[in-house]
Every structure is written in C-alpha cells, then in structure tokens.
Symmetry: D2
Subunit: 389 residues, 4 copies
C-alpha cells in the first residue's frame, strides 16, 4: 500500500485506534489537556448538537462534561434524543442552562446554537476554552457584510477578527492554532471544496459559475414549523431562498480569496446559487456548472482536484469513468465526494459534490477541527463508513 | 354562476361536462367518430399506460376498447395495476398482444411503448386511426440526429415527417389536425414551456442557459433494475446522464426553432443540462439560469410569460411575491407552474418550472392532445387538482 | 355489464355524470336546495378542510360559498394551500372568521375543526343548515363516555342526541334524513367496515379481536409539532397511544351495537387496539386478528362480506387468491378494500382493510354523506381512481 | 467516570479498544487465530454482505481476506457498493467465485447467501473454518420441518445437527464453542427476545400470542423485482406472506423450547403472525399482543425482561413511563429496544420491540456471534449509536 493515498500514518481504522491509544495529553499540538478532553456542547437539543453526541460516543479521548439547553434544562439529553439512551447511563448528561456551566472543568466547547444568539457569550468565555462555533456568527470577515445579511451589528467584533474559518482541508494549519474556529456552513463546504482549487489554479472563469444546491431536511433544523412537517416535505421538491440565501456571502468571501490568490480580479467573480429542499433527512449535493479557462479540459479539472486532495482522508475525487457521486454513499460520514465531467457544450464542465450536511457540513467537520486543535489524529471518531442503504 | 370560475369558456368540470355532453361525433375537429371515442392503449402495463387508464376513467366520451401487453397477454389489466380494480369490472380489459387488436373498432391509439420498438408498427396502422405516441420515436425532425442519439436508422421516415410535436400550448393548431402526435418528453415539456416565449421574445441570451432538472423515480419506468429499487433510491440523491441525456437534442431542436423565429442565429444556442433523480415517485422541476438580453429584467420575463399563458388552463405563472412553484402542488395534475426571480447577480434571472412527469410530462398531455385532435374540450378528464399532501 | 356489481343505476363514472347532470334541486331526497348547493367549510386550512376543497372542485352541483379560518382570516385559501390556486380565481375564497359567515346563503356545512371547539357553535346554527361534522364531538352516544375520554362535559347534549353516526354503508338510511352527521374517525371506518357484518353474523368471537392499525402522517394534522417533522418521521416507525387511543370508545360503541343486534352479550366484547405512525402521508391499514365462531371458515367470512358489500360502490372485498389490499391502491380515493385469509392457527382468521385516511377516513366519506343528505348520486365528486404510483 | 458506562467490563468503545488492543490470538475463547482474524464474506454483494463490510471497517482485529460473488467475480467490491470506496484502497477486495477462496488463509466465514444454496458447500469447508451462516439453512432443528417449509431435503443433515442457533443473549454459552452458528432471522430475533423470558417465566399464555410485524424494505434483498421498486413501495403499506411466512417455524421452534423449559405443554402454543412491508429502508418492529397468565401484570412483564436483560449491552427495556421504542432510534445499530404496556383490556398486555433488521436482525448479530466465538469483546465493531435523524 506504499504510496497509496491512505497509506500515510494515521489513516484507516486501525491506525486511528493506535493514534487514539496515545493519551490526548501527550499530543504535540500544544494546549492539549490531560486525557480525556472535557467538552461542553452548547445547544445540545438541536440536530447538530445530537450529532456531536453521536460522534463523541465513538471518541476514545473526549468526554462530554456539559450539555446545555435553556428550554430543556433539568431533563436528560436522552429525553430529547432517545437514540442517545443507548450510549449508556453515564453518557446521558443532565441538561443545564448555559449560564451554569462550570468552565473551569471544560477544555473545549462546541457551540451548536442559532445564528446571532451567542456572540457576546462566546467572547466572555475563559481564555483556556477553545471553541468550534457551528453558527454563522464568526464566518464573515467583513462586519459590514455581516450586518447587511444578518440585519444587526456584530456583538463581538474583536473575537470575530480572531476567528479562523474552519474549512479543514484548505485551512488546516490555521485551524491547529486557533482558539475559535468558525465552522463552515453546509452549502459553503460542499461548493468550496471543489471550487477553491480550480479557481486558485485559474482553470475556471470566476464570472461564470452556477451552483445548483440540494439539501436534506435536517438543514432546516428541529424547530417545529409548518414547512418542515413530514406531510409538507414528503413526495415533493422545492427551491427556496432563490437569489437571497445567507450562505451566499460566505461562499463569495472564500471564492474571492481563492481568485485573489491567483492574481485575478475578484471583482469579476459571479456565481448564481439556488438551494433546494429534497425529501430526505440528510445529504447535500452541489451541481456546479463552470466555464473552462485557458483551454482547460474536464480532465485538467480532475487532475487539479486529485492533486489537491489525493492525500486527504475525507475528500475523494471520482476517477474518470466512475459513476457520479451520490449523497447516500456518504450518509452519516465526514466524506466529501467530487465528480467532474465534460459538458456537451464545448468549453464547459459540470461538477457534482456531495456531503452529509450534518457531518462534513456541520458536526463532523467540527469534530475534525477539534481533533486538529488538540493534536489528536484528525479522523478520530469520524472514520466510519456510510449507512447504506 | 355567471362570471364564476367555471363559467369561463371551456374551464372547469361543469364546462367539461357540458362539452362532454355533446356527442364526440359532433365535434368540429374533423374525423371524430360517433361517441364514445374508442381508444387502444398500446403498452398498458407501464406507468404511462396505467396513467392513461386512470385518466380515461374520468373521461365521459372515451372508452378503452383495447389494451395491449406482449408479456401479460391474457391477464386482466388490474392484475398489473390493482388500483384499476376500482374502475369496475367493465373497465378492466383483458390484455392482448398488439397484433390482435381489431383496428376497425378503434378510433385512436395511445402508444406507451419504449423507444425504438414501434416505428414500423405505427406506420402500418390503418389511416383512420389517429395516434399519440408517448415514446421519443417521432420527436426529432432530423433523421441524422435521431440516428446519432438512438444508434439506429429510423424505421418509418415517412411517418416521421408527418408527425406533429405535441407540446400543446405553443403548437395547438398543428396538433388539432394531426394524425400522429409525437408527445414531448417530460424534461422538454418542463423546460420548453418557460424558455420558448423568452427566446422568441429575445429576452434571454441563447448562449447562456443552464437547466438543472430534477425528476421523480417514475421517470425510470417500471422495469425491475437495481438502480430503481426502493433501497437504492430512498434517502438520497443522484445526478445521471450528465452531459449526455437523450432529451437534450429534443430540447435543443425546439429552442433552436424559437431562436430562429426571432431571427437570431441558432448556432449561438448553448444550454447545459443535468438531470437528477429525486427520492419521490412523481414530479419534475427545472431550475433554469438565464442571462438577460437587451436590458430585460426578471419582471419583463414574468410579463412575457403571463402574456403567453394568461389564457391557458394548464400553464400558470406565479405572480411577483408569490412563493416559488413546488412539485407537490401539481402532483397528479396536468398543470405546469412557472416562477421567475431576479438573480442576485445583475443581468441574470432564475426560473423554476414544475410539472407532474407522468401527467403534463406524459399521459396527461397525451390526453390533452387527443382531446384537441377530436374536438373535445381540451381539459376533459385532466381538470382535477393535486393530491396534496 | 349487465348483472355486474356496478351495473346498478348511478354506479360508475358515466352513470355518475348522468346523475350529476340532473339539477341538484330536483333531487328527491327532500330538503335539497336550488342548484348549486352552497356549502361552508369551517376550518378550511387543515388537511381535511383542504381535502373538502379538492373534492368540491370535482363536484358539479356544489359551490363553496364560505371558508373559515380564525388565524388566517383575510387571506386567500390558496395562501394556505397553493395547490388550490389551480382551481381558478373564482374558486379561491377569502377566508373569514366563522362568526362572519352569512348562514342565510348557506345550505350545508362541513365542520373540519378540532375536537371540542365547536359544539355550542354547531348547536346555534340556523335550522336549515345541514351539517357533516368531521370532529369526534358528536360520535359518542353516551355523554359519560364522552366526558371520560375527552375530559369535559359535552356542550350540546341535545344536538348530540340528534346526531347520526355517519358510517355510510351500514347507516345509509339514517344519514339520508339527518340534519347533523357525525362523520366517523379514520380508524373506526377502517376497522368497522370489515368487523360489523362479521359480528352481526355471529362469525367471530366478540371477545378475541386484535386490531393492529397503521396510519399515514396526515392523521396527525397540520399543526407544527416536533413529532410531525419530516426528520422525526421519515425512515422509521412508531406505535402511539398504545392502549389509550381516543378512537377506541368509538369503535367499541359500534362493535357493541353489532354484537347486540345478534343477541350476544356486548359485555363479552374485547378488542385490543394499537395505532402506528407510518412514514407516508396518506393511507391506513387495519390488520385484524379474529377467532372464528361456530365452525366458520375464512371463506365464510369472505362470503359474508361479499354479501354485505357486493352492491356497494366504495367497499370492495378481495376475491380468494387475489393479493392482499394495499393502501397505495386506494390513495386519494373513497374506497375501502378488504381481504380475508385463514390463519395458520386453526380457528383463526386475519383480515386486512385499507382506506385513504383523508378520503374514506374523513373528507371523502363526508362528501358521500352530504350527497346522500341532499339526494345527489352518492359517488358524485369521489369516483376517481387512486393516484398510483 | 468510575462505574460509568465505559468502565464496566467489556462495555463501550474504550473497553472495546482495550480489548482490541490485546491480540486476538491471545483470546481465551479457544481456537482463536493469530491477529488479525482473517474472514471470508461469502455473498458480498447483497445487503447483508455489504453490512458485514461496513462493520468490519470498524473492527480492529478482523480483516476481510476474501469476498465472493459468482456474478461479479473479477470486479471490485466498491463497484457493487460505492460507499465502501471510502474504506480505502486496501479495504476494497477483488470479488472472486466461492470456489477460488484459499481456505488455508481464512479463519472464519460469514455466509450471506440465499437460503438453500450453500448447505453442501458449508459442509465441505475445512474443519478449522468457523462459520456464521446468515441464511435460514441451519436454523430449523427438525429436518421434516425444514423440508415442509423449504420444499427440499436438507443437503447437510450432519452439519445441521451440529449448528447452534445464534440468538446471542439467550444462547451465548453455546455460541462460544460453536463451529457453525445459524444466525437467526430478523423477525425471530425481534419477536423472540421479548417473548422467550416471558414464556420461560410462565407470565403469558402460550396459546394466545399475536405478533404483528413490520419491516423495512432491505428485508426483501437487492434482487431487482417489481415489488421492490421505489415506486411500488413508496407512500404505501402492504401485508405479505399472511399466514405463511417462512420465519414462522423458526419462531415456533424457539417459543416451544421456552415453553417446554417451563414444563408447560408446547402443544398449546399458538401464535398468529403477519409481516408488513413499510416504506423505509431499515428497521423492524414487532407489536406483540399477549394474554397474562396467573395474575401477572404489565409491570411483572417489564420486571422479568429487566432482570433478563439488565446486564446486556444490546437489549434494553424501556422504563415505565418512557416512550415506546421506535425503529429510528436503533437504525444502523445492534440494539434491541423493548417496551411493555398494559392493554386497556384486563388480563392483556402489549409489547413493542424494535431492531435494525440488517444489524441485530442480520449482520450485526453475526458479528456479535463471531466476536463471541473468537473470544473478542462482544461489542467490538458494533457499539455505535443510531444515525438519527
């Protein structure tokens, strides 16, 4: 297996467990606490919070020492999510209000709360607590853009400046040392992983990108609303937020960074984006239409992506002639699968990328980032394969 | 009820029944037989054949006098489709091989057989039989294009020349007098209805169209294949035929006709097209990305479509500020619903059109065409509302 | 078709339309108003209300003259249910509060409101208004039982006494003359249609009945609650209200009536009942386990049911050797399909009955009852076949 | 966390990894090979075969050294199941015909082939190979019963006699030493786990049991047939094999064994059983209606089950007042969840038990048994929580 993309140390389940066997405290990443890592989950009763709990159960060097919910405080986590009953009694924490967390006995936090609710709170955390924030609060570098899209002044501009954008593969080194990681949105994760290398490499025209995105219903969260009812979603399909979805400025920010890196004028950047709600609980697909630059071919695009991701555990590029990626093949996993084909129209190509919106698009990437921050093997707790069918 | 919804010419069930009350034989369309119209369904045991039977049950002036199946000959239709049991014993025909149909007692035929199997057969039908063919066999005007995409010489080039393309609304007048109607594919129906008027009106650039299409699984037919199994389709999403789907030349043919009508060079035409399989039985959506021509706005596009379809029973344009069309609102119906919004990118707009792939995308439009051909009120048997939820 | 079970006058689509052609005003049922029948839908924005609107669109002798909603008053019905947009502008009523209905211009009402909210209101309606109430309010004959299961005194005991239980087939004659019909629940409809004739005929032991019931999610209504969210329902299965569902006393009341009719002691009656929530929008199945009485065989049960329902349009008994009924074959329809097989255990049999919970289990049976009450052909507006697939 | 879930002997991921850290060869179970355990998967391209591969990926002491398929020999396993691509190149075996397996380098086999195809083949395996057979071939102790239900003479009666029925919890000790384990069917697993202790304890009447069973569609396998197509299954519900399902004699055999243990006459045993197909990929529920014996209460039943399973990792009894078990809470896991409530009818109780039919109902229990057979911690590779939602 020498030279294979997964032959490197730390890949695969066996290696993972060897890695995990080393005490977390000995990790060279700096700042790692004595084992096990004590983690607080803020907002444990939403879908991303539950997913953190599911993954934490597979993590040999992490323990959930606090789980918060304002409305369900005093109840057990398993009352909100009965599937967590099976983690065993010791793994079924009492929910507490966030204000009652004893931060002295917490090393790290996953913040799984809605946008705009916790900026000041995170800014007030003790300095020793390292945080992965799954909301959109710290993703936008420009405070003006933030205000424009979220309709309010940012409450923690200082912390905002310190935050590192947590798309793991391209920004791994920045994430290692971060105190606050702004975990990317699901649509940005699914569209940026294929697009960033292509834009950096000057292979596609920044001004002619169309991203048609499809998401499972967990993306709408667990709050009861008519539009999320089974009978309103099953058996049909809808577009939403057409031309105005809040993930747009986030995607644009990162695309512009990639274009700028190549010397092109980011001002030429233009991408159309339409999200759709698909009758399935999990999964996300971006179908991406690009115009090729400078005589590039679909094969050149594939080669660029393979070079970028060939050594990565969680991003896989489909070989030529392989079938196109399907969401069900990454369900429940942290993988991103990318396919490229030539369009019938000369000078164009079509990419398809898929993730599980709750894992690589949220809690799995958050866990990946936490592993990085604490010097643990990156794939710890997130190496399992898809539940198919 | 003067002025009420059902008083308008030819609209609604009352009008339908009035119309139906008049004997079909008296219809001015020419060639109409004495009532009721005797129809043969060729290929009655596939999904489009079953849908013809479902609609025929609501038709007061049509009777299914023959239903064919090679493999199930000798069995009752309800053995293939138990829901047709409820039509009553008299409406549950014995299936026969196509060769045994007594064409003297048949006025019209719906051909619901796979592509490439019935060209010679249809060419050999007695001249008095008027046919709606739901396969792709007679849709492409160019025999070369046909051969290129279907890999075989056309077996009935003479009949091919006579066939009328059956997209009802734009080609209504041609259909009235046709002996053979080539019923459009589902993807072409869903994408052409919004695009044709815009191209004819010169409102969008022919060279910059992206059609991202999503279909329910009935589109794959009833033949048992692994890829159509419940467990392979449920809970996930896939793209297929990327860059090579056979509906492309059909769409292109009609788009070119529309562009040509405007004097522009059809050679500039370029549209990207990716179909996706959605975990739902019925429904189709096309999300269409266009570049605006000559300073047109999204509002201009909407106005153009409203002008085109304002008097139509089966095509509806969503008003400004209305929600975007959803497939579930047209499930089981012959309606096409179209929405238009401005893209965030200046100079671009996004359209969303939805149909039921088995009704307006197949058997419903076929019934609409047959009604036209025999001078019956166009909406007979296809006026019901969506089954929602 | 002579002699067929649907050959009787008024059966089948063609007959239906003939019937419908006769003006409603001429109907011999007594009390029928001049055509068209003007109907108020109280609670138009729930699923059963929407289903009334869908069916009314197919009704040639009925017009919805008022549609009420307290919370959505002032909006169009189509804002709540966009699929009703396609009924045409004249068929998209403004929603009003129930207090604003002009009862002088209303002949009949469908009450689609939740249990316990409208008893006094219905009691106060003008005497000329004939009503079908889809709630449970007037189904239980015993005021004590009502109080026990619904936790409150009945607010209109006089009207309660007058109400007729609206299971159409066994109680048709009572319904014709009723001013208030208590439309049955979905579980009672699905379990009583097979069980009543068998108990009346003394073919099954009253003390050994098990009804295992399965329902689609529309049965839970449109109110946003966590348990009805797509992501909480999809891909799984749950039992609910085990041993305590409110449809139990309703079923028990009617089973006791049937047992009593046969002279047996209703006190021996005992049926176990467990409802389950199935990941599908519509459909209901009752799997019924019975012990045979007096040497009866499964064939005797089938013969009894065929005798009872052989002339009925909406109840069908599967012949021996036919496949067992499936919910999808009655989806969107008013049909009930019943199958019987011998159990492997001697002396036992198993029945399977299916309906669409929103049609025969609610709004369709309500329409059937209204047709009866006004002397219209019973199948008007509810004769269509299932939407399959 | 002393005393917490992961401190207990052999429970939870930490223990699992500790156990896994010890070389499999040192396991005291006897016959364990040098680490890692080399396993052949016979019939790797069906759903249970794929599930074995998914779980094996999480197993630190097992390697898949051979994977067979007659029809797909020469292709990679990932061509049949693309989700296994993500296991890494080294974990994507070439498929070979069963005849080409080098048994000298194989320690154990999972046989995932259809019933009736491999009896002679398994009988001919070298003695050192220990096997878990997932088919029904070796489950029935009586050769007459086998012949009656499967229509053929058993081809390996000697091996049949040696086989141990692999319902892990009640038969754990027998399984440890077995050379051939007949892995139970999904329906038997789901119904026997709740019923065996109750019958052994004399708490329920053997003659009055009704098991209403519901299964996801993976139970029908991956072979393309019309009845398993998405469009035939979605949105509806059906009963099948009513009164004649092949899992009946298997359940009956084990119930009789339990009754016999208590001294009661097994001849009094009678259980009705109806399986249903639910529109979901995975999951199984048995709703079990019982008559209480000797004054027992629902609470007594719960106490009996809690005593039986209180120390078990994979069987959990819902506490009083807890919600009833749902299939989605065990999806993808090896857990069985059991609930008990008193029926409204005195002297009766209702139980609900749920499993994932592909895991505890097939491949997970097979892995659990293999772990037992080779002295590995029983929960290795099968300790993960449900994928919810």
């Amino acid at each position: 297996m020498a030279g294979g993309r997964r032959a490197a140390a730390g890949r695969g389940p066996r290696a993972r467990r060897r890695g995990a066997g080393a005490p977390a405290g000995a990790a060279p990443g700096g700042g790692a606490p004595a084992s096990p890592l004590r983690v607080a989950v803020l907002g444990a009763t939403g879908y991303t919070g539950a997913e953190i709990s599911r993954l934490a159960h597979l993590h040999p060097a992490l323990t959930v020492s606090a789980a918060t919910s304002e409305r369900s405080a005093g109840r057990r986590l398993s009352e909100a999510f009965p599937h967590l009953l099976f983690a065993g009694a010791g793994a079924d924490p009492l929910l507490s209000p966030a204000a009652e967390v004893d931060w002295d006995s917490v090393d790290a936090a996953f913040c799984c709360l809605p946008h705009g609710t916790t900026q000041a709170q995170l800014a007030a955390l003790p300095a020793h607590v390292r945080t992965v924030d799954l909301s959109a609060d710290f993703r936008l570098r420009s405070l003006e853009t933030y205000k424009e899209w979220y309709g309010a002044e940012h409450q923690a501009p200082g912390l905002q400046e310190e935050a590192v954008y947590g798309l793991t593969e391209p920004y791994r080194e920045d994430i290692r040392g971060a105190r606050l990681v702004a975990n990317p949105g699901c649509y940005p994760t699914c569209s940026l992983l294929p697009l960033l290398p292509l834009l950096r490499g000057g292979l596609v025209r920044p001004g002619g990108i169309v991203v048609d995105a499809k998401s499972g219903v967990t993306g709408a969260g667990r709050a009861p609303k008519e539009g999320s009812l089974y009978c309103e979603v099953d058996g049909g399909l809808s577009a939403y937020g057409v031309g105005s979805h809040r993930h747009m400025p986030e995607i644009e920010q990162e695309l512009a960074r990639a274009v700028g890196a190549d010397g092109a004028a980011a001002g030429d950047l233009a991408f159309s984006f339409t999200p759709h709600l698909i009758p399935m609980a999990r999964g996300m697909m971006c179908t991406i239409y690009v115009e090729l630059e400078g005589g590039a071919s679909a094969g050149d695009l594939r080669a660029c992506l393979e070079k970028e991701y060939g050594q990565e555990r969680f991003v896989r590029v489909a070989g030529e002639g392989e079938g196109m990626p399907q969401t069900r093949h990454v369900r429940g996993t942290n993988f991103c699968h990318i396919g490229v084909v030539a369009d019938r129209i000369p000078g164009r190509a079509i990419l398809v990328s898929v993730i599980d919106n709750l894992v690589k698009g949220a809690s799995g990437q958050a866990m990946q980032n936490l592993n990085l921050m604490f010097g643990l093997p990156e794939e710890t707790a997130i190496g399992q394969l898809a539940l198919f069918p």
